[in-house]
Amino acid sequence: MSGSPRGMVGLVMRREIVTRVRDKSFLVSTLLTLVIVAAVVVLPSLFGGDDDEVTVGVVGNAAAVEPALRQAAAAQDARLTLTTFPDEAAARTAVTGGDADAAFLAPDRVLVDAELSGTTEQVVRTAYQQAVGSARLTEAGLDATAVARALDVPPLGVTAVDPPDPDAEGRQQAAFIGILLLYFQLIGYGIAVALGVVEEKSSRVVELLLSTLRPWQLLAGKVLGIGLLGLGQLVLTGLVGIGAALASGAVDLPSGLAGVVGQVLLWFLLGYAFYACLFAALAALVSRQEEVQNVTAPLTIVLVGSFFLALTVMGDPESTLARVTSIVPPLSAMVMPIRWATGTVPLWEVGVSMLLMVLAVVSLVRLAGWIYAGAVLRSGPRVGLRDALRSGRTQG
């Protein structure tokens, strides 16, 4: 005979996971999330992310600008690809087709698709000025090599007092995707727990279950099983996102990305523990699926609120608002990872924030367990919170 308390929790967990994984709608939504995340990561690099690669064509006598183009590209730190077109028509086709960013039809006439912009503009304009300048100087009787040497200006050395983080943009993007995932995962899996609790109440199977399980075992198995599934989905999504970024090659992995992913996972665990217990406890008060939304509304409001708070903080991660809310549970669950990703957080603040969250979770788990135990067997009208707490506590 097996039947250790832990074995029982394991059985409940397994049922939760197996029934959900088998559900087609779960598979579809997981797949959809993966596709969306991969798309969000890959798409920007497909469209217009190619500023530092410049492809310029030349037609006929315009080949004279080639040396100047090379010099200008080198000065701009851009990778230059030079192509030669037999005639203007060929150049036109290449430019409209996107095979070339610009084409010199003559030394003083350049063809572009829509407009001259970005790195291409800088390279082309610099090259043009240099070509014209050196032609005039040569005309004026200066030695061609001397002119070339004079115009070959070494890049200006720049020393920044406060250099921008080269990864900032990438981290910002990662943080945004992370917070979006965290939000949907917390709310989605919290509600899954609530619906699971009410399913057992409305189908009355809970009475049969509780003749062989203690309420805390049923609650723990359900919360852990669903949470494990949520964590697995999140890890998978993170891997696919990172994989897509690496594979597309266009997005450089910001150095702090691993840290951001780690923070999102960590705060999912803490946030889920916090919210799932409350979702379960509140859901145990009602007996019908239709009532779930009502009874869990306060939690949804807090979640939506922290999500918008996190978005605000993303714009100004060093503000007092950011510093305070990233430490207060449960707001910290969404504000801290965003602060971590976009700003610089002293480690001790992360530590304090986590500690407070863990303390909140520990005290809540007991409270939620009491409410659940006091209410889950009482079908019919909504059970009062205090009433449930009282009878749950006496059950021990």
Partner: protein, 306 residues
């Protein structure tokens, strides 16, 4: 021995159970009957620990029932309930495992029971796809799947067709033969009479009569006679002292004898009136016993419940 001792349960002002006491021996089938709201479900839920009693205790094999002992009980709640979307076979295996069976034993038990209860072909269907009666059979299998030491079933026969009733009755008697005490509640008294070794009649939370059906009949204070004297009006009986005519139909009379009335004198009177075709002691049916037990609520009980 399964002993229910002095169970008391109060819901606000309602006294649902007041010192309910009875015992069921191993191998005994105990029928638990009583009017709606009498307290049967309340008592059974307390026996299974899904409800806490205000006072009293339940003992099995001489020791107070704990959570661990209850896990070896089989229970069919009044409010039927299974996961609607779970497959029948998997559901039974899951419940068996929750009761401590290993995977292989749980699978074997689930297969054997679905076979026995006639739902073997539905093992791979979701519970919600079964008809109500078949869901009921699965519910029963859920109570039996872990080979329980004690069975507590709340109205297990309601909703079953005659074939289902026979199948269920067969299973219950078989389990009883193996030494399992079986307690079940029912409003189908003919069934209770047929299946049960003993019966407890509960009224307003208190056991008002219990014992074997035969004992209950014997204990009956009023004696009734069924006498058939064809084609003779019952006036011959109406004149006898201490005898009341309960019913009369074409020469067949049911008489109730007062204390001390000699039935042989009644027979002599009948013989004087005509040709006696039938003369017997009439045994009350369980239904009649039930009506009587439930009808005379003692005055003190009314006070307690009020």
């Amino acid at each position: 021995m399964l002993e229910v001792d002095g169970l008391t349960k109060r819901y606000g002002d309602t006294l649902a159970l007041s010192s309910l006491t009875f015992a069921v021996r191993p191998g005994e089938v105990f029928g638990f009957v009583g009017a709606n709201g009498a307290g049967k479900t309340t008592a059974m839920r307390i026996m299974l620990g899904v409800l806490a009693a205000d006072a009293g205790e339940v003992r099995w094999q001489g020791r107070p029932v704990t959570f661990e002992t209850r896990r070896r009980f089989g229970y069919m709640p009044e409010e039927r309930g299974l996961y609607p979307k779970m497959r029948v076979g998997e559901h039974l295996v899951y419940l068996a495992r929750l009761h401590g069976l290993d995977a292989a034993a749980a699978t074997r038990a689930a297969e054997a029971l679905t076979e026995r209860l006639g739902v073997a072909t539905r093992r791979d269907d979701a519970v919600e796809k079964l008809s109500l009666g078949n869901q009921q059979r699965v519910q029963l299998a859920a109570a039996l799947v872990h080979d329980p030491e004690v069975l507590v079933l709340d109205e297990p026969f309601s909703g079953l067709d005659p074939v289902g009733v026979d199948a269920l009755a067969g299973v219950l008697l078989e389990r009883a033969k193996r030494g399992v005490p079986v307690v079940f509640s029912s409003h189908q008294l003919d069934l209770v009479e047929r299946l049960c070794d003993s019966v407890g009649i509960i009224n307003a939370g208190r056991l008002v009569a219990s014992g074997t059906v035969a004992e209950l009949r014997e204990r009956e204070t009023t004696r009734q006679l069924r006498v058939v004297v064809p084609d003779v009006p019952a006036t011959w009986a109406g004149t006898l002292p201490g005898v009341t005519v309960v019913s009369e139909r074409r020469g067949e009379v049911v008489l109730e004898l007062g204390p001390g009335v000699d039935d042989q004198q009644v027979l002599a009177a009948a013989a004087r009136a005509g040709r006696v075709e039938h003369f017997s002691r009439r045994r009350p049916t369980l239904t009649e016993l039930f009506r009587e037990a439930v009808a005379d609520v003692p005055a003190d009980r009314v006070e307690v419940t009020a």
